[in-house]
């Protein structure tokens, strides 16, 4: 192993993983901690393991085949599968982008900045960054944005949590059989392992022109990214579990969590929480349109690249701007009911997740595509177990919401 090669390969796993800790993720983790204290931390551990497995698989399929997930689905499972997947992915991504800009707005308002200033500025910054930048520059900015997540770790420590209880909650699975618990557990799985993240890491590895020789390094990158994602989630849960849970304070989103933290964990912790939220929202608001653009370009034939000039890849860049505009626009329309949009998005993401995972499983076992890099029986078994687990969660959620 060479450190220099590792550092050159680094990126896809870190960025894809950390962008899963988006405002929606932070909100879910905050609610998990505020409602259930340390009890459900193990759900986060399970989610992180699932994230490691499938991010690694996505990156590997990308490197070995040189194609994105949607293109491969079209090639291997036909137009209908790919068509339905792309329509669902575009809708879900547009909805999730809206959620990210809503997170940006909420975080900006914590600092007293109007959303009518913050959201347009964020949208323009995201577009200029991706449209104007070259791959290397863009990746660098993504990584800098990710550094904002360190704020959560500090905020978590400042909240003086009960470390022993946190450790117990992480390793001892226990589950209150209530609708709320099932919802939050499924939401945690779903927000960590998101369809757009899986589509993104595969296309991004293709765009980065990584080769099979890089696979061992890429695995380190992916595992590091996924574990960091889990660790940050852990500190968010811990911060809320230590402060909000004992007092029975209920919150509905991450911005409320930041506000509620202020009198309990101190001014600094609350500010750090809000800073982390801005970084998370900006990172995810860049990744989501990008993930959509990669998928759309991939569907039509050629996987587009960040280094392509706009003239060569009009569809790629048009999709990017359109998704960003929809996401930012919806947040800015006064009086628009955002909550139903966001809930629908979550549902769409959950429904889309299963077929995407199934496709990835199928592709991983395809001898003609993967050749010597085909998933071994053990690996395939662990993918299946994860898929079954997620299916059970979604089914339980479905039953719980009907009753």
């Amino acid at each position: 192993m060479q450190l220099l090669t590792l550092l050159a390969v680094m990126g896809p796993g870190l960025i894809a993983g950390l962008s899963d800790d988006d405002p929606a993720g932070i909100t879910t983790y905050s609610v998990l901690g505020a409602r259930f204290g340390y009890q459900l931390l193990w759900v986060l551990v399970v989610s992180t393991v699932a994230l490691v497995l499938f991010q690694d698989l996505g990156a590997r399929i990308g490197v070995v085949t040189g194609q994105g997930i949607i293109g491969l689905v079209r090639q291997r499972y036909g137009a209908r599968s790919a068509g339905v997947a792309i329509v669902a992915l575009v809708l879900a991504n547009a909805g999730t982008t809206t959620a990210e800009f809503a997170g940006t707005a909420a975080a900006a308002e914590l600092f007293g900045i109007s959303r009518y200033v913050a959201v347009p500025v964020a949208a323009v910054v995201v577009c200029v960054l991706v449209l104007h930048g070259q791959f290397k520059g863009v990746q660098r900015i993504f990584l800098v944005l990710s550094a904002g997540f360190a704020a959560y770790i500090i905020a978590g420590v400042l909240a003086h949590p009960d470390w022993l209880a946190a450790a117990r909650g992480s390793v001892v699975p226990s589950m209150p059989v209530t609708r709320d618990a099932i919802v939050i557990a499924t939401a945690t799985l779903g927000t960590t392992l998101a369809p757009w993240g899986l589509a993104f890491i595969q296309s991004y590895a293709v765009d980065k022109q990584l080769t099979t020789k890089d696979l061992p390094y890429l695995r380190i990158d992916v595992v590091t990214g996924a574990i960091l994602t889990g660790v940050i989630g852990f500190f968010v849960v811990v911060a809320c579990a230590a402060t909000l849970h004992p007092l029975g304070i209920h919150i509905n989103d991450a911005a409320q969590a930041a506000q509620a933290l202020e009198p309990l964990a101190g001014h600094l912790a609350a500010k750090l929480f809000a800073i982390g939220l801005v970084g998370a929202a900006m990172l995810a608001a860049s990744i989501l349109p990008l993930s959509t653009s990669y998928a759309v370009a991939d569907l039509t034939g050629r996987p587009a690249a960040l280094d392509d000039p706009i003239r060569d890849a009009p569809l790629f860049y048009a999709t990017f701007v359109l998704i960003t505009a929809i996401g930012a626009g919806l947040v800015l329309i006064p009086g628009i009911p955002l909550i139903p949009v966001l809930v629908l998005t979550q549902v769409l993401n959950a429904i889309l997740l299963l077929p995407i995972l199934a496709f990835m499983y199928g592709l991983s076992r395809d001898r003609s595509l993967m050749g010597p890099y085909r998933a071994t029986r053990t690996a395939a078994g662990s993918y299946l177990v994860t898929i079954v687990l997620i299916t059970l969660c979604i089914a339980a959620l479905g039953i719980a919401s009907i009753r």
């Binding site: 036909g78 790919a82 339905v84 099979t212 569907l299 034939g301 050629r302």
Partner: protein, 408 residues
């Protein structure tokens, strides 16, 4: 007629009873520009059956009528040169040679030509793709979107096919190396490899030089050893060294072992220099003349080396012991009379030279100082080893500029 639309169409006997449903269309590659349809794959009960084109009396977009009630029920075996259009081509990557870009086939179109059907066009339109998401009725209603003549398409074989399809396409060779390099980077891994093998070796070597060193190394690692060695041998030495340097020691050693001994020895020598010193960026492609040669000899030597035009901006003049006397720019040769000995063309300013282990900074300073487009690398005995061109230096500078952090 649409290949996608044929899927699921009933196949009937002459008496009108349904035998089965069409699954796929089989075409034979290699028989002309437009592949002829050699038969259909029909699902009969639980079996997939091959129906030869001669057994098909009528082929229409909503109905297939077989010539006789007797259908040989033999299972489908893919024979060499045969391609399942629906399974192997539709939704896969193809190269649009005319537009020099990678496309995905949304539909294929067949036309009746003198008694038989041939594959004549491919539809790459997005609308055509979305039409297929709807019910079968929509699929069969052919509304051509962006259709490309099959003559302008290079296709690929599935990786498990018994025979490799002819993806070589005469007009692929007319594309510029830069365009081909772009195509290769857009293709999936398996397709990339096929396209590269289909190109004439000297073209593929040119294409490799247009690609990033990491991609080249990846291609070399994937290719069979003999092919990889062949490519390396055809690349300019400095590019070949760059590519080899990025390989694992094992892969590198194996390719060098397969390579003929003479170029291998040269490359091994070059590999000893680091990227950050003169020997690491020089090309060993020198046009050497003896002091007593005349301008006509120089021109003949340049004619022989004209395929390496990008590496030559002057000829070196040597004494009896192979030591450097002078470096004559091409312009001086052009304006001189044919019978003039090259000895008379040398003189001040004397060529600037660097030793092979000179660091790049020193090379750059010398190059700026001598106001020419290249300088020579000379060993301790004064014998020229290679030439460093300004554009090679430019490459390293650009690379440095992109690298903001030490690890990049």
């Amino acid at each position: 007629m649409s290949v996608v639309g044929l899927e699921g169409v009933p196949a009937r006997n002459p008496d009108g009873s349904t035998v089965g449903r069409v699954l796929d269309v089989v075409a034979r590659w290699g028989a002309g520009v437009y592949p002829p349809v050699s038969g259909l794959v029909v699902r009969v009960g639980q079996r997939r059956v091959f129906v030869h084109a001669e057994q098909v009396r009528e082929l229409a977009s909503t109905l297939v009528v077989l010539a006789s009630a007797q259908v040989d029920l033999h299972d489908v075996v893919r024979r060499p040169g045969e391609v399942l259009l629906r399974q192997d081509i539709v939704d896969h990557q193809l190269v649009d040679v005319d537009g020099a870009r990678v496309v995905r086939a949304a539909d294929l179109y067949l036309t009746s030509v003198s008694g038989g059907y041939r594959l004549v066009g491919v539809d790459v339109g997005v609308r055509t793709f979305f039409r297929r998401l709807g019910p079968a009725r929509w699929r069969r209603r052919v509304m051509p979107g962006r259709v490309i003549d099959w003559a302008d398409i290079a296709s690929f074989s599935p990786p498990d096919a018994p025979v490799r399809l002819r993806s070589s396409h005469a007009r692929l060779r007319e594309l510029r190396p830069g365009e081909l390099a772009e195509l290769l980077s857009d293709l999936g891994r398996a397709e990339r490899h096929q396209l590269l093998t289909a190109l004439p070796p000297e073209t593929s070597a040119d294409v490799l030089e247009e690609m990033g060193p990491r991609q080249v190394s990846d291609l070399l690692r994937d290719a069979p050893r003999v092919e990889a060695a062949d490519l390396v041998a055809r690349m300019e030495p400095d590019e070949a060294v760059e590519a080899l340097r990025n390989l694992d020691a094992d892969d590198r050693a194996e390719i060098l072992r397969v390579l003929a001994s003479e170029p291998a020895a040269e490359l091994i020598g070059l590999l000893e220099y680091s990227k950050r010193e003169a020997g690491g960026v020089m090309t060993t492609r020198l046009v050497r003349l003896h002091a007593s040669d005349v301008v006509a000899d120089a021109r003949a030597a340049l004619r022989d080396a004209r395929t390496h035009a990008s590496d030559i901006d002057a000829v070196v003049v040597l004494d009896d012991h192979g030591r450097l006397l002078g470096d004559v720019p091409l312009l001086d040769l052009l304006v001189a009379a044919e019978s003039v000995p090259v000895r008379e063309l040398i003189g001040p300013p004397w060529p600037s030279t660097v030793p092979p282990h000179a660091p790049l900074d020193q090379v750059i300073r010398k190059l700026i100082g001598n106001r020419r487009s290249s300088l020579l690398v000379v060993d301790d005995d004064g014998q020229p080893l290679g030439r460093i061109l300004a554009d090679d230096i430019l490459d390293t500078i650009v690379e440095d500029r992109d690298r903001r952090w030490p690890w990049q």
